[in-house]
């Protein structure tokens, strides 16, 4: 086959030695697993932080044994202080959004499967790829460092609104070096993500196997590709924003700080900056970030649903175009985070319409998924259950968007638990369901051993019911006007809501505990699971045409040739009801 220069350029020798094979690996599969492991570590920490927050909210005076060892100042005697609550909240949000929701569905699975699904031996730039991971790891370590320094982690939330985040240690505990570390960590993270996104785009455009036209790429490859395009633009804005924030904090500039501020009885030596500038820059990244988290899961879920239904979607093209429209619209809606921020009220109307319009491609996708279930023969297993659960969660999290997209309703629901419920369901839970589905589906390919199906299904039921029990009541709290980011409810008004808060906390602790089943299953199956065959799910795409786990160069030096659209199911093939993408046998239609 004809090889492009890009293909020749990236080929690297088989890895030798422990370090090259498992640590500083250039292999996209190892890097994918490294991202997955990092996301797993980050999600465990993020979840533990949420337990502490939920516990503190409803049992504020109950001692948490051992917590004082982690932070003497933050939890003296094992009781969380208001400022430490905000530190936990900031770190929870930052870990989850950046190191889990960006890393797991996009960087981890994308790295492992994108090159394989397009028939490439590796990423276009393997060294950049290794650098992306190690840069991301460095960002993680810098962030975590905030837990151990005397100043403690920052308290300004994952959105780090200026001037609270910009004026330095006068703003409160954690706002000295803790905040510096946050800004440096996120700047480094942006560099890693930019490198990753460039690599994904170059790989998709340049390294496709012969016959792999763009429309023959699997839907999840499309999702990773579109996500890369979004990430390239989004992180390119957050990076300079973080640099400006660091300059304001350390070099005496005033990008985000106006004159005349008196913080902690000290007149601040700044003038001329705009706090709204930070909000604009942050949300210009922040809203597309939501789609960076959810689009890969949409792709993964589509991929798994098709395999489980044993028939193609009603239209893969419509799904791809919908994902593109969502990606495009995601650039025009950032202002809906700022309806009550003091931004010109006319711009609220301008931001409201595209926000409401995103509902249309999102509904089209949901209807295509559900309409495709009609007349199928759905196999039920842990992977497909999580994929179906994703649809349910996506709808539940999506409909609350109707409320928040309208500036008039946002006046009463802004900054309440309604918002917390909305984004946790749609961006957090739905996206993580995609990751769970992907894990149960691809674990065999990634490790050579299958995950335990019984444990997987048990995990699904507990998680599905548990997450609804946690996040649906958040909406009710918001409808009453319960404000978020409060470390304690000290007034009479929120008193009657305490039983509901207790219910949420208990549900969160139980659902969190259920995740131990998943962790156990991962570790147990990695070593004791049944050996994975090459194609355990009778799939059609290229990852199922190579051994489990794949050799270092994926296709053993061969160059696959593609003859079909990715999802030839419900046809008469030589192996059953499907035809592989690289099989030369004629497809039915």
């Amino acid at each position: 086959m004809e090889e492009t220069s890009a293909q020749q350029a990236h080929v690297h020798a088989p890895p030798e030695g422990f370090l090259r094979k498992y640590v500083f690996s250039l292999d996209h599969k190892v890097i994918g697993k490294q991202y997955y492991a990092l996301a797993l570590l980050a999600v465990s920490m993020g979840m533990a932080l949420s337990w502490l927050m939920r516990f503190h909210l409803v049992w504020p005076t109950t001692r948490i044994p051992g917590l004082e060892l982690i932070s003497k100042a933050g939890a003296p005697g094992g009781i969380i202080t208001p400022e430490y609550y905000l530190s936990l909240l900031t770190m929870h949000g930052t870990l989850m959004v950046f190191f889990v929701l960006t890393n797991a569905p996009f960087a981890a699975f994308g790295n492992f499967f994108l090159p394989i699904q397009i028939g490439a031996e590796d990423m276009a730039f393997p060294r950049f790829n290794m650098m992306s991971f190690w840069t991301t790891l460095a960002a993680f370590l810098v962030l975590i460092l905030a837990f151990v320094i005397p100043d403690g982690p920052p308290i300004s939330g994952w959105t780090s609104y200026a001037p609270l985040s910009a004026v330095g240690k006068d703003a409160g505990p954690g706002m000295g070096w803790g905040m510096n570390l946050w800004a440096i960590s996120i700047a480094i993270f942006c560099i890693g993500s930019l490198l990753g996104a460039l690599n994904f785009i170059a790989t998709t455009l340049d390294l496709r196997a012969k016959g792999m036209t763009l429309m023959r790429m699997p839907i999840c490859t499309w999702a990773w590709f579109i996500t890369s395009c979004i990430a390239l633009l989004a992180f390119a804005v957050l990076l300079p924003a973080c640099i400006l924030l660091i300059l304001d904090r350390t070099a005496g500039t005033s990008f985000f700080i106006p004159s005349g501020l008196v913080v902690s009885d000290r007149l601040q030596p700044h003038s001329g900056g705009s706090p709204l500038l930070w909000q604009h820059l942050f949300w210009f990244f922040g809203h597309p970030e939501v789609y960076i988290a959810i689009l890969p899961s949409m792709g993964i879920v589509s991929h798994i649903l098709i395999n489980s239904m044993r028939k193609p979607l009603l239209s893969a093209r419509v799904i791809i175009y919908s994902m593109m429209s969502i990606g495009f619209l995601s650039w025009m809606v950032w202002g809906h985070h700022m309806f009550v921020s003091g931004m010109n009220p006319f711009s609220s109307l301008l931001f409201s319409f595209p926000t409401l319009t995103i509902t249309i491609p999102a509904t089209i996708m949901t209807m295509i998924w559900m309409g495709s279930l009609y007349g199928a023969n759905i196999r039920i297993n842990a992977a497909s259950l999580f994929a179906l659960g994703f649809i349910s969660m996506f709808v539940s999290g999506g409909v609350s968007g109707f409320f928040l997209a309208q500036p008039s309703i946002d006046i009463v629901l802004h900054a309440t638990y309604f918002v917390v419920g909305h984004f946790h369901m749609v961006m957090g839970v739905a996206s993580i369901f995609g990751v769970f589905a992907g894990t149960y589906f691809w674990f065999g390919k990634m490790t050579g051993r299958m995950m335990n199906e019984t444990l997987g299904q048990l995990h699904f039921w507990l998680t599905f019911i548990g997450t609804y029990c946690i996040f649906m009541p958040f909406h009710y709290l918001g409808l009453v006007g319960n404000v978020r980011r409060y470390s304690a409810f000290v007034n009479d008004y929120t008193g009657p809501l305490l039983p509901l808060h207790k219910f949420i906390t208990i549900a969160a602790l139980c659902t969190g505990a259920a995740q131990l089943i998943f962790i156990f299953n991962l570790i147990y199956s990695r070593y004791k699971g049944a050996p994975a065959p090459e194609n355990p799910w009778n799939g059609t795409t290229l990852e199922w045409s190579i051994p489990s786990p794949p050799p270092w160069n994926n296709f053993g030096g061969k160059h696959p040739v593609i003859y079909h659209d990715p999802y030839q199911y419900d046809v008469k093939g030589s192996k059953g009801d499907y035809i592989m993408q690289d099989s030369p046998e004629p497809s039915a239609g």
Binding site: L267, I378, F402
Partner: protein, 267 residues
């Protein structure tokens, strides 16, 4: 297992809708002249979103119930009309919904933000700082004294940084930790942030507006019912954020005048 999924999903959907349908959790009663439009918009949206939510979950449950784990080799078929029907339906149903919500929703927003305050509205300045609100009334001269950030001295209760020694306007300014207002009279609240971002949220007034350092923002509203209501900060402002609150005291006109006199005599 597919049937179990369907049953669990229906139970979850019904259980989720129950507290909404029975109005278990609702905003406290509206006491503003503009709030009913927001409430109507909220309940219209709740109806549309609620129906979409239930319909989608029920259809998902029904399809999984019917089409999961059929016999091996069962004949597969496609939804009549295929993707075109789905796309058209989504455009028509959601498009109409979006347009309706978008267009009608603007009225409530416009009422709050696009109508200027009446010329005779009572002007009050609100200042938010870590972690308290203070309110200032212009006094008999109807003018606010200038703010001098360098003169802010909380120990001496000079919260706004006034300079009464040199400026006549600030001598009769009344400063209060409580927002006392007369009922049925429009209030023009001018918002000033002392240090970092804060927000002014009164649930019963259906008003929420951020304080942004360096920006002169204002809101205007009319309260229609006397009583004492909580003002809370909704913009994360530091360690005392959870405890940053004040009270709105809506009084009868006579009581308000008495209150003003009392405050003025304390100067």
């Amino acid at each position: 297992m597919g049937k179990l999924f369907a049953v669990v999903l229906v139970i979850i959907a019904l259980a989720s809708a129950y507290p909404i349908v029975t109005h278990m959790y609702v905003m406290p009663e509206d006491i503003s002249t503009h709030g009913h439009q927001i409430d109507e918009q909220l309940s219209d949206t709740m109806a549309e979103a609620g129906i979409s939510f239930l319909l989608a979950q029920f259809v998902l449950a029904f399809f999984v119930w019917t089409f999961a784990e059929r016999k091996i080799g069962a004949k597969l078929k496609n939804f009549p009309g295929g993707a075109k029907v789905m796309v058209a339906a989504a455009f028509i149903l959601v498009g109409t919904e979006v347009l309706a919500l978008g267009v009608f929703g603007q009225r409530a927003w416009a009422n709050v933000y696009f109508t200027p305050p009446r010329p005779d509205a009572l002007q009050i300045q609100a200042q938010a700082g870590q972690f308290a609100f203070y309110f200032r009334y212009p006094g008999a001269d109807g003018k606010f004294g200038a703010i001098h950030p360098d003169k802010i001295d909380e120990g001496n209760q000079n919260y706004f940084g006034l300079d009464p020694a040199n400026e006549i306007e600030s001598r009769d300014d009344i400063v209060s930790a409580e927002l006392a207002i007369p009922v049925n009279r429009e209030i023009h609240l001018m918002m000033h942030a002392k240090d970092v971002g804060h927000s002014f949220y009164v649930r019963e007034l259906r008003i929420q507006q951020d304080f942004v350092p360096g920006l002169d923002l204002s809101v205007h509203f009319t309260a229609t019912k006397t009583g004492r209501y909580e003002i809370v900060c909704t913009q994360l402002c530091g360690l005392g954020h959870y405890n940053m609150k004040a009270y709105l005291n809506v009084m009868a006109q006579d009581d308000f005048e008495k209150w003003m006199k009392q405050k003025a005599s304390e100067l």
